[in-house]
């Protein structure tokens, strides 16, 4: 233990001081933890607000709203369930950041006598330091952003200043979950690459992903649709089980995602177009990674697809405030999701620049022009994203039929939210790819010594 404890912070500090590149990655990990804890706290805070309004006698202006209060809590929980995965995904991504670079660095420590247990402990400590820094910053951003929420109102009441503020135990639970996840991702990530002292991080040869993944997902979707026919969503139990089931279905998209990536990339590996070939090879090399890059946006696409029909769900007599509130809620959820996805994309892109440094340098020396690099990067963003959205949006639309009642008019708001999400998703991802260009250029020009 002592070695890991004493060495980890020192190495981290030295690293930030010594190398520009690694500093960027560390900063990015902290940024990711900041964003994920800020948004996790915000989402939890919103749910807490509805819970309190429901609990407190006379908090709401009239009886109709009091009657609907529980629905608000449920819907907020629903939004939480939808956002949990991208939030956790971002935290996990931050923990995995630059894993290959880290492996190379750790190999020399292994050689001179650090045991693999110590290596894992040291990395966990590094991650924890970043995660705690992010949690502190994220909490600060959360508190600072509180006044802004006063501009919005729900249940015909403006959001009060303190309403989103979480009690300490809930705050602790949210942050604790994020930290736990960060640690778990680090341990799992390092377990996959056994760090050999010889430095050859024995990259596991990518196994062909099996079709059972597709089967599981299709089975789950069908089961869900059938289940929904026999459940009364209006009852509390029915709503909770539906939400849980839905979360399961959403989670299962992660099973089929990598498989789809592989499916789409395989023909590309047999082309003579260099950029297409390289992009396809990289996806095939790590289909899970390719999926992870777009997973957050896939969820967003799913949510946006799912809610297209939502605003029209209000029962006959419901006032317009309910529809309005739902639209606001959906817009907030999507906005939160887009911020998460943008951060996640930026982070994975940057981390890949470093992970692929050796390959990029080799290609550069071989005379592969910079335009090809750029084209590869764009393909690596656009192709997986198109596949992801092409799957998740229709799936969201399909599953939304569970909740939707008849549409009396074309769902203008829902469709524009969906379109906005898809367009912003593409733009943000391409933007993240562009933002990494200076990093890539830096890698290629850096006078790297052959051996360090």
């Amino acid at each position: 233990m002592s070695v890991a404890v004493s060495l980890a912070p020192r190495l981290a500090i030295e690293r930030i001081r010594a190398t520009k590149g690694a500093g960027v990655l560390d900063a990015m990990a902290v940024l990711a933890f900041t964003v994920s804890s800020w948004l996790a706290l915000t989402v939890a805070g919103g749910t807490w607000m509805f819970f309190q309004r429901w609990q407190a006698e006379g908090a709401l202006p009239d009886s109709q709203q009091t009657g609907l209060a529980i629905t608000y809590v449920a819907l907020a929980c629903f939004a939480c369930a939808l956002l949990v995965i991208p939030i956790l995904g971002l935290g996990g991504g931050a923990a995995r950041l630059g894993a290959r670079g880290r492996v190379r660095r750790l190999a020399s420590l292994r050689l001179i006598g650090m045991t693999s247990g110590e290596v894992v402990r040291m990395s966990v400590i590094e991650t924890l330091v970043q995660a705690v820094a992010g949690a502190v910053l994220g909490s600060a951003v959360f508190v600072v952003s509180l006044p802004l929420w006063q501009l919005l109102s729900f249940q015909m009441l403006p959001i009060g200043f303190g309403e989103l503020l979480l009690p300490w135990w809930l705050w602790l639970a949210v942050i604790g979950a994020l930290l736990l996840l960060a640690v778990a991702s680090t341990v799992l990530g390092l377990r996959r690459v056994t760090i050999s002292p010889l430095g050859i991080a024995r990259d596991h040869t990518p196994r062909r992903l099996k079709t059972w993944r597709l089967v599981v997902v299709v089975a789950l979707v069908v089961a869900f649709l059938v289940y929904a026919q026999f459940t009364n969503i209006a009852s509390f139990i029915g709503l909770v089980t539906t939400v849980v089931f839905l979360a399961l279905v959403i989670g299962s998209i992660n099973l089929v995602g990598p498989w789809l990536m592989q499916l789409v990339a395989r023909p590309g590996a047999r082309t003579s177009n260099v950029a297409r070939l390289l992009a396809a090879r990289r996806i095939l090399d790590d289909p899970r990674g390719a999926w992870r890059n777009v997973a957050s946006l896939a969820f967003l696409g799913f949510i946006a697809g799912f809610v297209v029909t939502m605003p029209a769900t209000g029962e006959g007599g419901t006032d317009t405030f309910f529809v309005h509130d739902i639209q606001t809620g959906v817009a907030i959820t999507l906005a939160v999701g887009l911020i998460l996805a943008a951060t996640a994309t930026l982070m994975t892109q940057a981390s890949q620049v470093f992970d692929r440094a050796a390959e990029s340098i080799a290609l550069d020396r071989m005379g592969v022009p910079a335009t090809v690099h750029l084209s590869v990067r764009r393909r690596l963003v656009v192709v997986p994203l198109a596949v992801a959205l092409g799957t998740s949006v229709p799936l969201g639309l399909l599953l939304s039929t569970v909740a939707a009642v008849q549409l009396d008019s074309f769902p203008v708001v829902g469709v524009s939210l969906l379109a906005g999400t898809v367009i912003l998703g593409f733009l943000l991802s391409l933007g993240a790819a562009e933002a990494c260009r200076p990093l890539q250029a830096g890698i290629l020009t850096e006078q790297r010594r052959r051996n360090d």
Partner: protein, 253 residues
């Protein structure tokens, strides 16, 4: 009872070592029935053409890789049965490494790199060890460079840091794989002289892998490998003698 390695004056030993890579279809026999011992206090060169199994032999002797069959002793410890973390601890207490790629930690300065083996062992150097380290640093001409980072040093200087780190703990045995592979001939001579001095004056046991006859001529003993087998084991020789043996070997294979 069989004599132990110590009785035989050996710091490391392999017996009937076989190593193959790959599966049945793509099998490569890197080492075939190799039995050899590294003598205490000697500077031994392991020579042979490219692909003859030199690095593989060294990695297995150092516990960095495992044998397909056969026995491996480091000192009197049979390391073929040790698990990874015991092996690691053994390595950090008893073995030093100097590789062609210098394996320095880029984020630590020179002094941090040299002291790292002690730190990993959770202790500070004793006064006696510190005096030894200071002497090494002086002899290696690194005194002015202690606060620099590896990337601010030339290849030869980095290699000298790696040597200082490998010798700092006074390990039973230092393994060097092509330690001069990246260096020009003048710097190579410096580095080789240093290794020779460490062995002669301080009794440091060194096993050095090389395919360079000049480098091998600095050693007290030369073990020749060809095609995964030990084909010759001779005492100190001139570069010319070594070259002609190597040429003969290449003609055969």
């Amino acid at each position: 009872m069989k004599p132990t390695s110590t009785d035989l004056g050996l710091v490391a030993r392999v017996a009937h070592l076989h190593k193959s890579y790959g599966t049945t279809n793509t099998r490569v026999n890197a080492l075939t029935d190799v039995s050899v011992g590294i003598r205490r206090g000697e500077f031994t060169a392991i020579m042979g053409p490219s692909g003859s199994g030199k690095s593989t032999l060294m990695h297995i002797m150092a516990g960095l890789d495992t044998a397909s069959s056969g026995s491996v002793w480091l000192g009197d410890t049979d390391i073929s049965g040790l698990d990874d973390s015991n092996l690691t601890v053994l390595r950090r207490r008893r073995v030093g490494f100097i590789f062609q790629s210098f394996n320095l930690v880029p984020t630590l300065d020179i002094s941090g790199n040299i002291l790292l083996p002690f730190e990993l062992d959770g202790r500070a150097p004793t006064a006696e060890e510190q005096a030894w380290i200071d002497r090494l640093i002086a002899v290696l001409g690194l005194t002015d460079r202690l606060r620099h980072r590896p990337h601010e040093l030339s290849g030869g200087q980095q290699q000298r840091v790696a040597i200082a780190r490998a010798l700092a703990t006074r390990p039973d045995l230092v393994f060097a794989d092509e330690p001069t592979g990246n260096l020009d001939s003048r710097t190579s001579r410096e580095v080789l002289t240093l290794l020779q001095t460490a062995s002669r004056e301080y009794g440091q046991s060194i096993a050095m892998v090389t395919h360079d006859p000049v480098a091998a001529s600095y050693a007290d003993r030369i073990v020749l490998l060809n095609d995964g087998r030990v084909v010759d084991d001779r005492s100190r020789s001139t570069p010319e003698e070594i070259s002609s043996i190597m040429l003969g070997m290449e003609a055969l294979s």
